[in-house]
Structure formats: structure tokens, C-alpha cells
């Protein structure tokens, strides 16, 4: 240290620097504890010999880099010891069991992508084996809110489900209508969606189900909660549905067939749905919506890899006397469930076609890797559906699973002509029985 301070020129100072480092490191390193100083001939090694053979070289960068690591790891160790000593994991398991016993189950995140971090739970009351009443409440830090009530009665002739839901989503994306919409026209709006309805569903041997439903809905698109983005009417004038409430009834039927037995086995699944929407009161809204989802799996390597192909189509057909369909009810693509190289809900349009090819393979029982290629388009008329203007992306995803097999997190990186997107999605995505005029949960990956 003294040599460093006394050195008159830079060259000498640099020569003295290592010596200074050695001294500092020696001061930082704890000496052998006084209790260990005693040495007897009968020990296999003396403390000096051990010190000689275990001391690290006095490399200043190593010492400097090790210090925060050492502090961090020892702090973590203390935390984990406290966690285990107080049996926090066991307590949480017990609480979860206790809550489940009373019909309460926790849920994380909101419904659909982009709803943010948060959670809530369900409370289920059972009346016999066949009847149940479930309450749902979810909220996230992104000001997302959802409440729902569902009563279900199971009979040999199928299940009858009466359900209602309220959703508030404060940060919804809109870039304009059609496949030529411009990314810089990024606006945001908030959506309030309330509905109530009745559904009947019949399940055949667990693999085939079909059902019919009727719902009454009240949907409003309002100014978004994020001040950094303008509202849609700042970019697009006369946008149908913005700033008003749409009241409508929707009636539909659906048919699902699930032939997927295992992640890596040959199989396929189909979903078909059709619904008719009509406005209440003075509204002349009247249109049909059709949706199809096809999925096929082709194993490559036994129990460890498979190709998965998906095709999704959504068509809306307005009746000749119908008013325009509100923009937020139109099909849209972009985001983790559709085009992963594009921003969430990047394209809106009357019709949608989406193709996706994934190669899913397992690198660990809990970790799956998915290179993927997605291609999709929004179109108003079939003439617009040219291969030349489809939006394409490719990328790589990781899916993390729990020991029980449920996916608890997906991380996906997609690259497209508009740049790169990283999606982090928690939880398994459940597809609703029929999308109809509602915005979320049309696809399940």
C-alpha cells in the first residue's frame, strides 16, 4: 500500500498495485480461528499445512467477484434454513389442503394474456355429488378484475350450467383494422364485459363433447388506463363500438373431439363452434361467427418429442341489415397464443386464419423446448387471403411444468418482420367452450 502511495510515476504505481491487492486480500480473508491454532503431532495435518494447501491464490478480481456472491449465498442459506425450520412449505400445503377441503382454491394471474401478475381464487359449494355453485374472484396489479358465478348440475342427459361473469381489462391493444394496420398506431382501451347465460353440455366418454348456450352480454370499450398510449379514437375516427355500450344476445353450439392421449403420442383434436349475435334494444347488430380449431400430433421420438400442428379459422358474417360489428368483437391475432413474433392483439379483422407448427421436445421431465413457426392473417374477403401478405414468425419457447404435469410457466421468444417479442405466461390456458363475441381464450397451446 505504502509502495503504491509513494510510487512517483504511473509505471511504478502499476507495479505496486498487485502488491497492494495482495495485502488487501490478506486482510479480507479470515484467519484460522484461534480455537484451531493448537496443533499436536497426532493430527494428520497441521493447520499451517492445511492453510498452505487450501488457500486461494490472491487474485484481486477473483476476490472482488467472490465477495458479493459469498454475501448473497450466505444470506440465501439463512433464509432457506429459516424457511425449513418454520416448516413454511408444510404449513402452506396444509393451508392449501384445508382451504380445498372448504371449497376454496387459489388461482394465479388473470384470464388471458396480458392480464398481469396477481391472482384470486374460487369458492365452491357442493349440494350432493351432482350440483355445485362456484364463485370466482381475480385481480391483478395491472388493474385487471374478474368476478364470476357458475351453477352446474350434472344429469345423465348432460350438464346444465348457469353462469355469469364480469371482467374489467384496463390495457387492451388496438393498432387499427385489417392486415395493413401500422404498428406505430398503438392505442389502448379498457374493456368492461358483463354477461349471464345458460349452457347445456353433453360429454360422450370423456373424449367428445357438444353443447349449446345462450348468453346476454353488455360490453363497453372505454379509455385505457395507460397514459403513455392514446385512445383508439385519437388514431381512428368513427371507430364502431368505442365509447359506447353494446348490448347483445348470443346463441351458439359447439362440438369438441379430443383424441390426444399423451403429449408425445399420435393424436388429434378438433373444435367447431358457431354462434349468432343480435343486438338488444335499438341496436341492429346481427351477425354469425364461426370458429374452427384443428390440432394434430406426430411423434418423432418415443415419449420425448413430437411435431404439433394447429390450424385456426374464425369467420364473421354480418347479415345485410346489420350495423357494423364493434372492433373489439372482431377476431384478432398477435401474442403468445397466436402470432408469437408480434405484439399482443396486433391485427384485428373480420376473418382470421392461423397456422402454427411446433416441434415439442423434452429436455427434462419438467422442461419442454419448442421451436415454432406461426403464420396468420386477418382478412375481410377471401380475395384478400393471399399467401404473400401473411404474417410470419419463428422462435423458440420453453414450457415449465410441475411434477403433476400442469404447465405453470411459458417463456417464448418470437421473431418477425416487426422485430422480436418475448412472452412470459403463467399457468395453463383453458379454452372456453365457445368464443362468440368475447375476446379471450379462443386458443390453447
Amino acid at each position: 500500500m505504502l509502495a503504491f502511495l509513494l510510487a512517483t510515476d504511473m509505471r511504478r504505481k502499476m507495479l505496486a498495485l498487485p502488491a497492494a491487492g495482495v495485502v488487501i486480500c490478506s486482510l479480507l480473508r479470515p484467519p484460522i480461528s484461534p480455537a484451531q491454532q493448537f496443533v499436536e503431532e497426532a493430527r494428520i495435518r497441521t493447520p499451517e499445512e492445511i492453510r498452505e494447501n487450501t488457500r486461494r491464490p490472491l487474485l484481486v478480481p477473483v476476490e472482488v467477484a467472490s465477495w458479493p456472491f459469498h454475501k448473497l449465498s450466505s444470506g440465501m442459506e439463512r433464509g432457506f434454513i429459516a424457511f425449513e425450520r418454520h416448516r413454511i412449505r408444510e404449513r402452506m400445503n396444509l393451508w392449501t389442503e384445508e382451504l380445498r377441503h372448504h371449497g376454496v382454491q387459489a388461482r394465479f394471474g388473470g384470464s388471458g394474456e396480458g392480464s398481469g401478475f396477481g391472482g384470486g381464487g374460487t369458492y365452491t359449494l357442493h349440494a350432493g355429488k351432482a350440483n355445485s355453485l362456484q364463485f370466482l374472484g381475480l385481480a391483478t396489479f395491472k388493474a385487471y378484475q374478474e368476478f364470476g358465478i357458475q351453477w352446474q348440475s350434472t344429469t345423465p342427459a348432460g350438464s346444465v350450467i348457469a353462469e355469469s361473469s364480469y371482467q374489467w381489462r384496463s390495457d387492451e391493444n388496438f393498432y387499427g383494422l385489417g392486415h395493413n394496420s401500422v404498428r406505430t398506431n398503438h392505442s389502448m382501451f379498457a374493456l368492461r364485459q358483463t354477461w349471464a347465460g345458460l349452457r347445456w353440455e353433453y360429454q360422450v366418454k370423456g373424449r367428445v363433447r357438444w353443447g349449446a348456450l345462450y348468453r346476454a352480454a353488455w360490453i363497453s370499450a372505454l379509455r385505457g388506463g395507460d397514459p403513455h398510449f392514446g385512445p383508439p379514437d385519437a388514431f381512428f375516427s368513427n371507430l364502431t363500438g368505442y365509447g359506447t355500450q353494446t348490448r347483445l344476445g348470443t346463441a351458439g353450439v359447439y362440438f369438441d373431439m379430443d383424441g390426444i392421449r399423451n403429449e408425445y403420442q399420435l393424436g388429434g383434436a378438433t373444435h367447431f363452434g358457431a354462434s349468432y349475435q343480435h343486438g338488444f334494444g335499438n341496436s341492429s347488430l346481427s351477425y354469425f361467427a364461426y370458429e374452427t380449431q384443428l390440432e394434430g400430433r406426430l411423434p418423432v421420438s418415443r415419449e420425448s418429442s413430437a411435431f404439433v400442428g394447429q390450424a385456426n379459422f374464425e369467420l364473421t358474417r354480418a347479415r345485410h341489415d346489420s350495423s357494423s360489428i364493434p372492433f373489439y368483437m372482431l377476431p384478432h391475432i398477435g401474442g403468445s397464443s397466436t402470432l408469437r413474433g408480434f405484439a399482443l392483439d396486433r391485427f384485428y379483422g373480420r376473418n382470421l386464419a392461423l397456422l402454427s407448427l411446433e416441434y415439442r421436445y423434452r429436455i427434462h421431465p419438467f422442461v419442454q423446448v419448442i421451436p415454432f413457426f406461426d403464420e396468420g392473417q386477418i382478412f375481410d374477403r377471401s380475395e384478400d387471403l393471399s399467401w404473400l401478405n401473411w404474417h410470419r414468425n419463428y422462435g423458440l419457447g420453453f414450457r415449465f411444468r410441475s411434477a403433476g404435469g400442469a404447465t405453470f410457466m411459458r417463456v417464448e421468444y418470437g421473431r418477425s418482420s416487426e422485430g422480436s417479442e418475448i412472452h412470459i405466461v403463467f399457468g395453463d390456458r383453458e379454452r372456453p367452450p365457445l368464443r362468440g363475441p368475447f375476446r379471450y381464450g379462443a386458443y390453447k397451446r
Binding site: 498487485p18 494428520i44 491464490p57 487474485l59 456472491f69 416441434y359
Partner: protein, 547 residues
């Protein structure tokens, strides 16, 4: 730029500064680490942290990387490359032939006395409850049961206890017991402790509830494993790295202890993948007026394929729970690489679980998650472990398998055969890789030794076995067969400086043995010299796997 290079050069200088070569180790058979020490505080460990740190975090520590690179071998070895007896380890079958009965009798403790056992406590850990009982002689035991398949865990624990004890480790007395419900009575202050540690008085109904979870054997009795309470006061667990600051006897970093590094080979033999710190135990004992820490290995209920399966049974012993190399291999090959154990692993007898010899590769065996001491296992440690494993004779192994008290004879036979086959795989690998030569002596100018590979059947007959000898300072080497070699004349030193044990090193000799593939094994270095007592040239000691 020039200045930076100069600076880096000087920073690197300390790397070359120290002489890392160990001097000739002491000729001690006992490491006196049983000095009186004040009672240490309890040292808790975290299993979760152990997994996290050893699986991932350690890779981020530059200090650890440097320490691993500079590790030149175990520190607690004596002149004959053996581990001296200590509070960690006592040489047993590795040093001399011991009968099975001697090993059983040498276990610390006794099985519980027959009669009425007093139930003291039930611990519900969410898996299978443990029952704490006192036998008529007043000794306390923990009764553990087979959670899923009868005989599986209790037999594995009994067999592995005997193996580890015979090898030299400190283990509790574990014995298989059978009892009836009527043999249990409740202590006045008996209590039931639930998963979160909450206590309430133990009732007869609780006791019956515990027994209901266990399948009784045919005649209405229950089978369990009685683990006798260890002597002394519990002071927590030991770690596989560093030392305990409050134990003045503990001066050798644990990752540099041969018995912990070499445990990897013995653990591989019995597929003891659950060797984490949670399965260790430090007891503060008082023996002969001295109070010190004694270090135990505990809980072998998941050995011999009988453990809980995270990621499926066939991973055990082949892959860590989170194995970066296997995951990386799968990632790069797009999932087309198949783990051999997933394809070909099989459970032959449910009482044993996944324990086979076909897919066993001693050098590639892995515990559930990286163990810091196992990570440092070098060739000398591996050879040391293999020397112990191959000391178990066929007859001894058959008795070990019988100690599992399996009801089906084919299960006993399978276990014995698998133990033998895995032992032989270990012997074939390690006793071929390292020159397996022991007990060197110099008589009439001839250097004589024992070849363990020949003696234990892992090498060709003595006559055909080839060796190569090189003397320090000589370029030419001598190739010979048979277990002795004539040494050239060595000039004795006069007036040299003897070490603190009165030894004066004169020369070193390196001997290699012919491997099965025709190459030469890692040599054993034999130190020749004089002692204070005798000026005659003699063997002072040897070290294996010197590179």
C-alpha cells in the same frame, strides 16, 4: 494495453507462488481429532438451499472454481495413502478381513429388547409417520415403516447400514423388528406432532391410525425398522464443504477429506443417491473424559433403489434432478438423444426398486444433486473407495442380502447378485485405472508388493500381469511381471534433514500396472528412505494415482 498486460501478469504471480506439492504424509493410523472442545451450537442445513447452490449457484462463484482447480487431492491421508481412524471414520473391512458377525456386533447400539414398548411420540411428516418408542431396557428408538411397498425401505436401510458401517463410517444402529399392536403402550406424556410441528397428547386412536397405514405381515405383526438413538447431544448436520468454526478439531475442509470424497464410490455401489447434508448428523459425545464431535451418516431408506422418485425411478444414480449436461444434450440433439436408463431401466422386484447392474457405470454415477465432496473425487479417492467395496467377499454380500429379511428368497438372491455385479464393475474400473498395488516392502533390494486386482480377480494371473517401474531421476523404465522388482543400487544420504517423524526421503519410485486395454494405469508413487531408528533403506510410504 502494455500496462494492462503487465498488471495482469503481476496479478497472476501468486498462482505460481506456492508449492502445492504435499510433503510425505505422516505415518499415522489415527488422527487425534477427539480433543476436548466446548459444546458447539447446533448447525442447521437447508436441503432446498443445498439443491439450489450445488446445482446452479456454485457455478457463479469464481472463488470456488479456482479452489477446485487448485485441489490436488485429499488432505487427510497418511503415508500409506489410507485414511487414519478419526471421529469421521474407522477403518474396518478395508484394513482387515472381518466376519459378518463381527461387523454386526460392532454396530453402535443394540436392537430393541422384546416386550412392551412405550410409545413416546408420533411424528407425522406427511409421508409415513415415525414412531418414537422406549424398549423395556430404557433405550429409545425411532420406528420407521415401509411407506409404499412392504420390506422395501426397511430392508434397504438395514443392508446399507451394515455396508457403510463395515466400510468404516459412523452410522446408527438400525435393525428390522416385528411387533404387534398390543406390544405398544402409551407413555404418560406421549404426544403427536403434526407436519408443522404442532403437538397434542397422543391417544391410542392415533397409534392405531399410524398402524393402519402400514400393511401388517401375514401373522398380524407389523414390520418396521428400529433406529436406535445416537449417543451424545445432537448438534445439527455436517456439511460436505468447509469446516465447522466452533469445532477446534475440525481443521480439514470436508471437501478435502478422503472418506467423504471416496464415499462417492461406496454410494454408487448401493445407489445411495440421497447423500445430501440433511442425511448427516453431528453428535457431541463424551468418551474417556473428552467431549468432541462425532460425525455420522444417517437415513439410508432410499438406497438400493427404494427412494422416492422425482422425475421417475430410472434417473436415480444416472442423472441429477436438474442435470445441466443431460438437459444440454437433449437440447442440442432436439430431444432425439434418449437417456439409456429411460429406455432400458427396469424394476425386477418391487421390494428392491430400481437397482440394477446392467446400466451401472461406476465412473458416471451421480447422486440426486451435486455433492461438493463428490465433485472433488479424484482417481486416488475413487481407488480408495473401490478398495473398500471390493473387500466385500461374495459370502459377506450374501449374508448382507439375507440381513434385509426379505420374505421371498428370489429377492434376496437378486439383491446379492446385483451387489456382486456392481462391486465387480467398480473393481474392474478403478482397479484397472489406478495401479492397485499395496503393502510395498523392500527386502534384499527387491521391492515387493500386493496387487489387489490380481488378488480380487480383476486382472490376469500374477505371472501374466505386467508392471513398469521408473526411478526418480532416471529416464529409462523397467518392465517386469510378478509382484516384485529388483531395484538398482541407491546411494544413501548421510546427514540429511529428517522430517518431524524422523524420516529421510532418499528416492521415489513410480510403478504402473498394465491395463486391460493394453495401456498403463495411473502410477503409484513409492517413497524410499531411512528412519531415525534404522539407516537401512526401506519403504516410507506410497501414494496412488500420481500424475
Amino acid at each position: 494495453m502494455k500496462r494492462v498486460v503487465i498488471l495482469l501478469f503481476f496479478c497472476m504471480l501468486p498462482l505460481w507462488g506456492a508449492d502445492h506439492r504435499l510433503r510425505l504424509p505422516p505415518p499415522l493410523t489415527v488422527d487425534a481429532d477427539d480433543r476436548n472442545i466446548p459444546e458447539p451450537r447446533e448447525q442447521p442445513v437447508s436441503e432446498l438451499y443445498g439443491i439450489l447452490y450445488n446445482s446452479w449457484m456454485r457455478h457463479l462463484s469464481p472463488g470456488q472454481k479456482v479452489a477446485a482447480v487448485r485441489d490436488i487431492g485429499a488432505l487427510n491421508v497418511n503415508a500409506w495413502d489410507e485414511v487414519p481412524d478419526s471421529s469421521w471414520f474407522t477403518n474396518r473391512i478395508g484394513r482387515r478381513r472381518l466376519s459378518f458377525d463381527e461387523i454386526c456386533a460392532g454396530l453402535e447400539g443394540q436392537p430393541p429388547e422384546n416386550g412392551v414398548w412405550t410409545a413416546l411420540r408420533v411424528e407425522d411428516e406427511g409421508y409415513t409417520p415415525k414412531l418414537r418408542v422406549r424398549d423395556p431396557a430404557g433405550r429409545t428408538y425411532v420406528l420407521k415403516f415401509d411407506p409404499s411397498i412392504p420390506e422395501k425401505n426397511s430392508a434397504a436401510e438395514r443392508v446399507s447400514t451394515l455396508i457403510l458401517h463395515a466400510a468404516g463410517y459412523n452410522v446408527p444402529h438400525n435393525s428390522i423388528v416385528s411387533f404387534r399392536s398390543s406390544d405398544l403402550t402409551l407413555a404418560k406424556d406421549a404426544y403427536y406432532m403434526d407436519q408443522v410441528g404442532k403437538r397434542r397428547p397422543l391417544t391410542r386412536a392415533d397409534l392405531e391410525g399410524v398402524l393402519k397405514k402400514i400393511k401388517p405381515v401375514a401373522n398380524g405383526t407389523y414390520r418396521g425398522l428400529a433406529s436406535m438413538f445416537l449417543p451424545g447431544k445432537a448438534t445439527g448436520k455436517f456439511k460436505y464443504t468447509g469446516t465447522r468454526k466452533d469445532d477446534a478439531n475440525d481443521i480439514i475442509p470436508h471437501e478435502r477429506r478422503r472418506e467423504l470424497r471416496g464415499l462417492r464410490v461406496i454410494a454408487a455401489w448401493i445407489n445411495h443417491a440421497d447423500t445430501g447434508e440433511k442425511n448427516t448428523y453431528d453428535a457431541y459425545v463424551t468418551v474417556g473424559g473428552r467431549s468432541y464431535l462425532k460425525h455420522y451418516l444417517i437415513d439410508f431408506g432410499s438406497t438400493l433403489g427404494s427412494g422416492d422418485y422425482i422425475n421417475g425411478p430410472y434417473r436415480i444414480g444416472h442423472e441429477y434432478i436438474f442435470d445441466g449436461s443431460a438437459m444440454g444434450r437433449s437440447f442440442i440433439t432436439l430431444g432425439l438423444w434418449h437417456r439409456p436408463w429411460e429406455q432400458h431401466g427396469r424394476i425386477v422386484h418391487s421390494e428392491i426398486g430400481y437397482y440394477d447392474s446392467e446400466l451401472f457405470e461406476p465412473e458416471r454415477w451421480k447422486p440426486n444433486y451435486p455433492n461438493p465432496a463428490f465433485n472433488r473425487t479424484d482417481d486416488a479417492d475413487g481407488y480408495w473407495g473401490a478398495k473398500i467395496v471390493t473387500a466385500f467377499s461374495d459370502e459377506f454380500i450374501e449374508k448382507l442380502a439375507q440381513a434385509g429379511a426379505y420374505s421371498r428368497s428370489e429377492v434376496t438372491a437378486y439383491l446379492a447378485n446385483t451387489l456382486k455385479q456392481r462391486r465387480d464393475a467398480i473393481g474392474r474400473y478403478w482397479l484397472d485405472r489406478v495401479a492397485p498395488l499395496e503393502e510395498f516392502d523392500l527386502t534384499g533390494g527387491r521391492l515387493v508388493f500386493r496387487d489387489l486386482a490380481v488378488e480380487r480377480g480383476y486382472a490376469p494371473e500374477e505371472i501374466a500381469r505386467g508392471y513398469r517401474l521408473q526411478l526418480e531421476g532416471k529416464k529409462e523404465s523397467l518392465t517386469f511381471t510378478g509382484q516384485s522388482a529388483q531395484l538398482p543400487e541407491l546411494s544413501l544420504r548421510v546427514g540429511g534433514q529428517a522430517d518431524r517423524y524422523g524420516r529421510l526421503l532418499v528416492a521415489r519410485v513410480w510403478i504402473e500396472s498394465k491395463r486391460q486395454d493394453g495401456g498403463w494405469s495411473l502410477p503409484v508413487e513409492v517413497s524410499l528412505g531411512q528412519t531415525r531408528e534404522s539407516e537401512r533403506l526401506q519403504v516410507l510410504g506410497w501414494r496412488h494415482a500420481v500424475r
